[in-house]
C-alpha cells in the first residue's frame, strides 16, 4: 500500500491540515507528499522534514500557482498509478480538488473521513454529524478527504524524505485566478486553535460581537468563531462560520456565546473536549451538549468572565 498526500499551502507555508492528512495516510501505508505550486521549493523542504514521509514530489511551475483544481487534477491523475490511496485534508482546497481527481480516475471518493477501519473501510459523518456511516470501497484505488480534527498532527521533525521533481502536465486553460481576499485576524487559526470563543445572533450587532469577543479571545489566546446566524447578520466574516457548511473544529475548550445550538452548528463543534455555553434562554439546545452551562445575559457575563480569567492569569 502506498499513499499520496496532496499538500496544501497557506501563504508560502505548509498548511497544518497537511500534517493531519499525513498521520491519516500513515495508517494506510507508505506516505509520499505532492507539493504543487509556484515557487514552492521551501514548502518542499518543510514537507521533507515531516516524520514518516518517504518522498516529496515537487511540481513547481507557474501553471500551479493559485491551486486551481483544473490544473492540479491532471497532475495528480498522472501520479495516481503508483498509489493505492490518494488523501487530502477536507479543507476548501481538498474538497475542491479531490472529487475532480476521483472522477478523472473513475473512482468514488469518501468525504470527510473521521476514522480508518482498514485500507478499504472508512467511517465518516452524514446528516450533519447526526449519524456515522461505515463504508467499504470495492475499488482498487481509494480517494479520501480526511477531517483534520479527527487525526493528530504528524511531527514536523525527524523526516528524511527525498525530493523528486515532477514536470508539469499540459492542461487546457479553463479558469483564471483574479484575486484573493484573506480575512485578517490577530487571533490563532480557527481550525487549529486550542480554545475557540464563538458568538451567535445573541450578540445583537457587529459592534457587540467585536467588543465582547475580541477581548475574551485575546485573554485566552483563542480563535473566534461564529454561528451561521451571526455570519448572515454580518456580525462576523463568512470564514468564521463553525458548522456543517462552515468549519469543523474540535478544540480543548469551545465557548458558545449567544448561540442557540442548531443541528447545523453542533455538527461543527460537538467534538470539542470541553464545551461551555452562555445563553439567556435556559431551553436553548446548546445546553444539551454543553459540559458547563450558564444561563445569563451575555452582556454582563462576558466582561465578568474576562475579568475573572485575567485575575487567575496574574
Amino acid at each position: 500500500m502506498s499513499v499520496l498526500i496532496i499538500a496544501e499551502q497557506q501563504q508560502s507555508c505548509l498548511d497544518e491540515a497537511t500534517l493531519s492528512a499525513v498521520s491519516a495516510g500513515r495508517q494506510l501505508g507508505e506516505v509520499d507528499i505532492l507539493v504543487a505550486g509556484h515557487n514552492v521549493a521551501e514548502i518542499a523542504i518543510q514537507a521533507q522534514q515531516i516524520d514518516g514521509v518517504r518522498k516529496v514530489l515537487l511540481a513547481d511551475a507557474t501553471v500551479y500557482a493559485h491551486a486551481l483544481a483544473e490544473t492540479l487534477a491532471p497532475l495528480v491523475v498522472q501520479l495516481a498509478d503508483s498509489y493505492s490511496h490518494i488523501v487530502a485534508a477536507a479543507t476548501s482546497f481538498g474538497k475542491n480538488l479531490l472529487p475532480r481527481v476521483a472522477a478523472l480516475l473513475d473512482c468514488a471518493p469518501v468525504s470527510d473521513v473521521t476514522s480508518i477501519v482498514d485500507t478499504q473501510t472508512f467511517i465518516h459523518p452524514i446528516y450533519a454529524g447526526n449519524a456515522l456511516q461505515t463504508v467499504r470501497s470495492q475499488q482498487s484505488k481509494q480517494l479520501l478527504t480526511i477531517r483534520t480534527t479527527a487525526f493528530s498532527l504528524a511531527e514536523l521533525t525527524g523526516g528524511q524524505a527525498v525530493i523528486e521533481h515532477i514536470a508539469p502536465v499540459a492542461v487546457p486553460q479553463l479558469s483564471r485566478f483574479i484575486d484573493l481576499q484573506l480575512t485578517e485576524s490577530e487571533h490563532p487559526e480557527l481550525t487549529t486553535a486550542k480554545i475557540v470563543v464563538s458568538g451567535g445572533r445573541g450578540l445583537g450587532s457587529a459592534e457587540n460581537f467585536a467588543a465582547l469577543l475580541d477581548p475574551l479571545a485575546d485573554t485566552l489566546n483563542a480563535a473566534i468563531g461564529a454561528s451561521r446566524a451571526a455570519v448572515d447578520a454580518d456580525y462576523a466574516p463568512n470564514d468564521y462560520q463553525v458548522g456543517q457548511t462552515g468549519k469543523i473544529v474540535a478544540p480543548d475548550l469551545y465557548i458558545a456565546i449567544g448561540i442557540s445550538g442548531a443541528i447545523q452548528h453542533l455538527a461543527g463543534m460537538k467534538d470539542s473536549k470541553v464545551i461551555v455555553a452562555i445563553n439567556k434562554d435556559a431551553d436553548a439546545p446548546i445546553f444539551k451538549v454543553a459540559d458547563y452551562g450558564l444561563v445569563a445575559d451575555l452582556h454582563t457575563a462576558v466582561p465578568e468572565l474576562i475579568q475573572q480569567i485575567k485575575a487567575i492569569a496574574c
Partner: protein, 249 residues
C-alpha cells in the same frame, strides 16, 4: 443562454434524523422531505439570471424516485421553465449522479450548470466537481457571487482564509454556497402555473450510464453521546470549574 440546475430531494433540514435500531441505515420513513437548501439557492440564481435577461431558459433536473417530481415542481414554481426527471429506485452515489448529469447535459447543451455545494443528507460535496471533470469544463465551487462577463463567468468563492475570485470559461459548472442569495418564497399562483410546465421523464437505460455503487454501506451508527453536562450558577463558579475541574486554563 441556457442554464441547467440539478436539484436533490432530501430529508428536510429541520428534521433530526435517527439511526435505525439495527444500525442498517438512518430512518427516513415518514419524515418530511424538501429540496436540498443549497439547490434552492442554485435555482434562485438561475431564475434571477433569467429575470435579468441574461439566461434564456432555465431547465431543472433531478434523479431518483417518483416523489422527486415534487422537488421539480417546486423548482418550476420558483421560475424554472421546464424539468427533467430521471426516474429510478436504485441507489445513486455522487459519481453515478455526475455521469447521469453529464448525459443529460450532453443532450441539453447548457452554457451554465448550477448545483448546490453539497447535499445535507450524504454531506459529500462531490457532484459538481465530478461533473465538471467528466465534462472537461471549468469548476467554480462554493460560489457566493456569480457575474456573467462575455464568454466568461466571474465568481467569488468562499475559501478557508477568506474569499477568492476566479474567471471561468463558459460553459462552466458552478456549485453554490449559502451566501449567494436568499431563495424566494413561492406564491400559490406560481404553484398552480408550475403544474402546467413541461416535465419530461427519462430512464437510466436511455442515458446509457453505469450507476453501480462503488461504495457499500456496512452500517450507520449514532455518534457517541456526550456525557451530561452541568449548569453553573454564575461566572465565578464557571471560571472556578474551568480552572480547577476541567483545567482548560
Amino acid at each position: 443562454m441556457k442554464v441547467l440546475v440539478a436539484v436533490k430531494r432530501v430529508v428536510d433540514y429541520n428534521v433530526k434524523v435517527r439511526v435505525k435500531a439495527d444500525e442498517s441505515d438512518v430512518d427516513i420513513g415518514n419524515v418530511k422531505m424538501s429540496m436540498n437548501p443549497f439547490d434552492e439557492i442554485a435555482v434562485e440564481e438561475a431564475v434571477r439570471l433569467k429575470e435579468a435577461g441574461k439566461a434564456t431558459e432555465v431547465v431543472v433536473v433531478t434523479l431518483g424516485v417518483k416523489q422527486c417530481e415534487e422537488t421539480l415542481r417546486t423548482a418550476l414554481a420558483m421560475g424554472a421553465d421546464r424539468a427533467i426527471h430521471v426516474e429510478t429506485d436504485e441507489e445513486l452515489q455522487p459519481l453515478a449522479v455526475a455521469k447521469l448529469l453529464k448525459a443529460v447535459a450532453t443532450i441539453e447543451q447548457p452554457q451554465l450548470l448550477l448545483l448546490g455545494k453539497q447535499a445535507i443528507d450524504d454531506d459529500a460535496n462531490q457532484t459538481a466537481q465530478m461533473l465538471s471533470a467528466l465534462m472537461q469544463l471549468a469548476q467554480g465551487t462554493f460560489a457566493s457571487k456569480i457575474e456573467l462577463a462575455g464568454d466568461e463567468v466571474l465568481i467569488t468563492r468562499e475559501i478557508d482564509g477568506g474569499q477568492e475570485r476566479l474567471a471561468l470559461t463558459l460553459p462552466a459548472v458552478i456549485s453554490v454556497d449559502l451566501r449567494l442569495n436568499e431563495p424566494r418564497y413561492i406564491k400559490l399562483p406560481n404553484i398552480m402555473q408550475a403544474k402546467k410546465k413541461p416535465l419530461e421523464k427519462k430512464t437510466i437505460a436511455e442515458l446509457g450510464v453505469d450507476i453501480s455503487p462503488r461504495l457499500i454501506q456496512l452500517k450507520v451508527t449514532e455518534p457517541a453521546a456526550r456525557s451530561a453536562g452541568m449548569m453553573v450558577e454564575n461566572v465565578t463558579e464557571l471560571v472556578d470549574r474551568l480552572h480547577n475541574e476541567a483545567k482548560v486554563f
